[in-house]
Subunit: 113 residues, 2 copies
Amino acid sequence: MELLQILECSPPLTREPLDAEQAAGVARVFKALGDPVRLRILSIVASREGGEVCVCDITGAFELSQPTISHHLKVLKEVDLLTSERRASWVYYRLVPETLGELSALLGVPATV
Amino acid sequence: MELLQILECSPPLTREPLDAEQAAGVARVFKALGDPVRLRILSIVASREGGEVCVCDITGAFELSQPTISHHLKVLKEVDLLTSERRASWVYYRLVPETLGELSALLGVPATV
DNA sequence: AGCATGCATAGACGTATGTCAATATAGACG
DNA sequence: CGTCTATATTGACATACGTCTATGCATGCT
């Protein structure tokens, strides 16, 4: 089953308990978010006007090796938080807003009536 | 700095990049959510009518040892997702909805206008 | 064709994490 | 007080993870 589908089928945490399969899928995404470098990478891509960021822009923002950044980008891609596209020599990463939205909904606390 | 304060000060990922300190704080919380067992525990507590769950209720829901459940509860407590209170022989866990709400806001995608 | 550049992959290494069995602690109750 | 029950802590172990260096693979350029 696709990860985004699992997120779509998972009820908000405050509504009912997750079953094991839902929890496993959701946990994969949160685990990807559970690293400071990946969070910063994601926020760089997500907040970028135009929505696209070249890998070189990201690498320049950290004092980490290029392979390390590449590794983190791969992790974010594997959980459908980012997509990438190669154009000419450069690879551009983009946010997948649906995934972020599903996570937000999952955590959302129902408005106090 | 307190964790909840860091969450309150952190802008939505789609608005601007997180700085290193914000990312470190936020990552701690997401890391706690990045385990299937903890997610299920959290959803059990969060979705419970009355808001309180006794540890024994949680232990009974998993085929894991009692110390393992206790460990996961501790992790969730350390990132301010849960609080606990002892009454008589039992310990009751409660959701901290503010933390969940801050996380949700952090991930929220601005409505498409 | 050959080289330079941008990014990905492979492998190695230390540290962190999830789990358990064993033990400790705290409260209830005889 | 002693003991039972509910939960927490400790220590051990295997596995996963973040990082690096070295290398591979495209693409563009001369």
